[in-house]
Chain length 302, copies 2
DNA sequence: TTGGTTTAATTGTCTAGGACAAAAATAGAT
DNA sequence: ATCTATTTTTGTCCTAGACAATTAAACCAA
């Protein structure tokens, strides 16, 4: 194992996702981490502690509390059971096929995964593929990551390959000017684009015109884009990793900046348990999309 | 114009890219911005000042200095000339065709842009398309954004559509297990993926095996991915927007974490003027790729 | 004038600890 | 056991100072 240079606090923030404020506060309050100091008196974290912080972050995403995690010994942490909110596991579709797909990812077999996915897409058609396969697979990858059964780079590989497949499939669906016109994007610090692509696929199949603007658009630019493209709807995606406490303020801010006639739809794991707020339509599941679209069309029968 | 709720400091950081520390420091030092205070005594920025801060940030990216910008009146700012480092504008290829492509973006004509680009790709072939058209177009879009001639959402549209086209073109190039095996990714906070895609296209055409891991991989995960995939090379992309001061430390950290036999290649506008450091190969232009690949192969003739 | 070196100004990031509101857990009451 | 009230936990924001790294200015030599 090579010698890894020590991390300064900015590098730890980058690699763990824990803000500098939180890192300093934990040190003060719980006595961990315990960085050394460099020649300038600034914190210097050994790689080992950065790893430990990443483990803690992962366990927090599962629902554990920092107070317990930071007090516990490293051994105790490893033994922690996944503390997950119960998921309705009613309909268990062909579990075996999904397991086989995941197996390719675990083996780092990009080619095999792509072939298997392409095969499944051809058999199911785009709509069922998105609603059943990709949704379920993404959920499982997320869970496996939280449990430490899948590495970050394996999840990234899954995401990248699946996005490619979806984009490719989308290119074959005829687009052209249609109604309604829907802008698809996400807010800054929300980098997950797979959900957006899934939504785009379903919307395009339903005959809407999608304007994909990628991820991470500043709010004021979203508002300008809506105006410039004369969009009927702006659709945002929030992953479950997005800081919950920011969502509400963000949405009211965007709602205020958007032209009044433009609808604002939001979806994804980050808003799953949010209630509807004024002027914002929360889509709790992918299946809500068709209904929402029908509702819009009913109200805009030109 | 609707009433936009005021921004708290976290929202301003999100939308401007200026850190909270910088926002407070500017206020203290230069007397701008001048946020109000909410009921809790916390800063509350009117939308108008957020806009102004974004203008300042853009001008800074052009090379202007904060001290001047923050002292100047809004009118004076608007009159500032683009202060760009001279670009060797020797070979001016078919300027007209590129202008036509850009025109589609300015008109928000996604369909027209896609068709024109696809047409050009078919005529030039993937290699020339990447090296001439996409490179030059991306440079122009970047410049136009810095000059305020292109909105953020227009740049995002350009990026998204071009990425789609490249991915689609890439899918038609046969992959399979080849040599060398190259991991393509970027570090956290580096979200620009278009450069990676261009590199991937060129490398794949040269017969290398690319493992695309998307953007924003924590350093320790890059190292693990290199090991798990038995990669020969890790290639990183840095856009010119990436904070220069972080690059050096970051590379030495990654170099230390990577297996010794794995090469580390970096490229993009963010490292264009960096010198080579120990164990890191800097590719200053896309054209360097073929040579670097040949060099690697010469040293690994198995 | 041009080119290189030293000095001075500028600017971002780090540090310290305090305060408080929102969220979560516990206790208490129906 | 379900609902409400209280207590604990936890993240973010605050002020204000220090310093190193970068950039500009001044200086001198050719």
């Amino acid at each position: 194992m090579p010698e890894i240079p020590a991390f300064n606090i900015a590098a730890v923030e980058r690699d763990t996702g824990l803000s500098k404020d939180v890192l300093r506060m934990w040190e003060r309050r719980y006595g961990f981490p315990t960085p050394g100091r460099d020649a300038n008196g600034e914190r210097s974290y050994p790689a080992e502690q950065v790893e430990h912080l990443r483990l803690i972050k992962r366990l927090m995403d599962q629902g554990h509390r920092p107070g317990k995690l930071l007090a516990a010994s490293p051994e105790a942490l490893a033994a922690l059971a996944p503390k997950r909110k119960p998921v309705s596991d009613d309909a268990s579709p062909d579990t075996e096929a999904l397991d086989a797909l995941l197996h390719h990812i675990r083996q780092h077999d990009a080619t095999g995964f792509q072939q298997a996915m392409a095969h499944r897409l051809a058999r199911q058609g785009l709509q069922r593929f998105v609603r059943d396969t990709v949704t379920e697979l993404t959920r499982r990858v997320g869970e496996a990551w939280e449990d430490g059964r899948v590495e970050v780079f394996e999840e990234h590989l899954y995401t990248e390959l699946t996005e490619r497949l979806l984009r490719q499939a989308l290119a074959t669906v005829p687009g052209g000017p249609q109604q309604p016109r829907i802008i698809l994007t996400s807010v800054p610090n929300e980098e997950h684009g797979l959900g957006l692509l899934m939504v785009e696929a379903l919307l395009t199949l339903e005959g809407a015109e999608c304007i994909p603007l990628g991820t991470q658009m500043p709010l004021l630019d979203i508002a300008r884009a809506a105006q410039a493209h004369r969009a009927d709807i702006v659709a945002l995606s929030f992953s479950s990793a997005f800081p919950q406490r920011q969502v509400a303020g963000l949405l009211s801010q965007l709602r205020g900046a958007l032209p009044p006639g433009t609808e604002l739809w939001v979806g994804g794991g980050g808003v799953a348990r949010s209630a509807d707020s004024a002027g914002v339509r929360v889509l709790h599941q992918l299946d809500d999309i068709a209904a929402a679209l029908a509702h819009w069309r009913a109200g805009h029968a030109a």
